[in-house]
């Protein structure tokens, strides 16, 4: 399928760019560990499992924001995005590719973050990992979309958190629920629903964000 090939070509380009620059992923790793340390000092000794789960999700969300802020920078500098928009491929492929690349970075950061979290605070359950995986999908699809919007404006970095956080609130609810509750099925199902709904809306409307 040519759509898949376009996505592959674009995603490859994004991963290549990050490999060259080598700034976003290390920054995300450092940031998430530093955040955990700050949390330790910000809370009274030994936070409960409930509180610590909340912290995990806050950390994930803000680490993701860090990565998302960088996502469309190569395209917006010198308007390279025009070049992609001119190509005969479906514009939504640009969004899919960017989301996949961001997902890769976020997942890589979490591969380090989760063990560190388990070390500092509480052990991580299987449902938490599953919740993180589903949440990552939502974060990257919606975040990349909103990142494309933010980067076209004057305010850029200022606008991204404002646009992203209200949309991310349901993700946090689903994620924390999955981490904490004894029967996480409902919360995981909710995360899946969120991912599906918003992926659909993003996919259908990305065209209008990048082209007239």
């Amino acid at each position: 399928m040519t759509y898949a090939r376009d996505v592959a070509a674009l995603a490859r380009k994004d991963l290549l760019l990050e490999l060259r620059a080598r700034d976003t992923l290390p920054a995300m790793l450092l940031f998430v560990v530093a955040t955990f340390v700050v949390f330790h000092f910000a809370l009274p000794a030994s936070p409960s499992r409930l509180a610590a789960s909340g912290l995990l999700w806050v950390a994930i969300l803000f680490t993701a924001l860090l990565g998302l802020g960088r996502a469309f920078v190569p395209e917006r500098e010198q308007r390279v995005l025009d070049g992609l928009v001119l190509a005969p491929c479906d514009r939504s492929a640009i969004w899919v590719a960017k989301s996949l690349a961001t997902l890769a970075f976020l997942a890589a950061a979490e591969v380090v973050a989760l063990p560190v979290y388990a070390l500092f605070f509480h052990p991580v359950s299987g449902s938490t990992v599953l919740g993180v995986a589903l949440a990552d999908l939502g974060i990257c699809t919606v975040g990349t979309f909103v990142g494309a919007m933010a980067v076209a404006t004057r305010a850029r970095d200022l606008l991204l958190p404002l646009l992203f956080l209200p949309l991310a609130i349901p993700i946090v609810v689903g994620g924390v629920g999955a981490s904490v509750v004894g029967a996480p099925g409902r919360y995981l199902g909710f995360l899946a629903l969120y991912d599906l709904l918003f992926a659909l809306v993003c996919w259908a409307s990305f065209e209008y964000v990048v082209a007239e």
Binding site: M149, A152, A155, L162, L165, P166, V173, V201, S205, E212
Partner: protein, 243 residues
């Protein structure tokens, strides 16, 4: 193939005198009548709630304002949809005004909800109130709508982004509501059962009148603001032609 120095370009980019079916003055009059009636019913006619007493009266407005705000957001999203699919020239401005009204009424929800919470429970804010929390999230979301708009130069890109964002809003409303419910882990009683098993008679009438009043008020304000904005745009277009 040279470019003619055209100055006879009085074509409108946005329709000003677009014919809405109901004329504005009668709308305003209807709003006035309904709001007065609603106030009268709420404060003098509707029976006192057994356990809540006076504070419950605010609830009539709280719920009607909330429903009106939802209607405004949905209307905004519908205008956005029209803009994207049909390239309707007036849709962008109409959507903007609808969202603006939605935000105003949304603030009203937060205000009335807060007052009710203080009277009923002694706190200015209650995380246990689903509707209130939902409107807090929506408030943040739609404030960001305005920040987005102000961050872009007027033009097709701003219109597209606004339209897409309002569509996201309408998807967010049910999803957030579900999330808030899940966050509490229990089922919250829906408003109609709050008033006890017999929701009828004057309570129903009062609620319906308040709801109608809020909707008509919102629509009136929407029409007023829209007309004003369209006039602004037209004025600027004319100035440009004269220059």
């Amino acid at each position: 193939m040279t470019d003619p120095g055209g100055d006879g370009d009085l074509r409108q980019s946005v329709p000003v005198g677009r014919s809405h079916r109901i004329p504005l003055p009668s709308l305003a009059a209807a709003a006035l009548v309904l709001v007065t009636t609603a106030l009268a019913l709420v404060f003098f006619v509707a029976p006192n709630d057994a356990d809540q007493g006076f504070s419950q009266r605010i609830f009539y407005f709280h719920v009607s304002i909330a429903m009106t705000a939802y209607a405004c957001f949905v209307a905004g999203a519908w205008q956005g949809f029209k803009h994207l699919t049909r390239r309707d020239p007036g849709a962008d401005l109409a959507g903007y005004v609808a969202v603006h009204q939605g935000l105003i009424f949304g603030s009203g929800v937060l205000l009335t909800g807060s007052i009710w919470a203080k009277i009923s429970w002694g706190h200015w804010w209650l995380w246990s109130e689903d509707q209130l929390v939902l409107f807090l999230v929506l408030f943040l979301f739609y404030c960001a709508y305005f920040m987005l708009r102000y961050s872009l130069e007027p033009g097709p890109q701003r219109e597209n982004m606004s339209a897409v964002y309002s569509l996201f809003g309408v998807v967010l409303i049910p999803v957030s509501f579900l999330a808030i419910r899940l966050a509490k882990g229990l089922i919250h009683p829906v408003v109609f059962t709050r008033h006890g098993p017999s929701f009828g008679g004057w309570i129903l009438v009062t609620y319906c009148v308040s709801q109608a009043a809020m909707l008509v008020l919102a629509y009136t304000l929407y029409r007023v603001e829209l007309a004003g904005k369209r006039l602004d745009v037209r004025l600027r277009e004319l100035k440009e032609v004269l220059v």
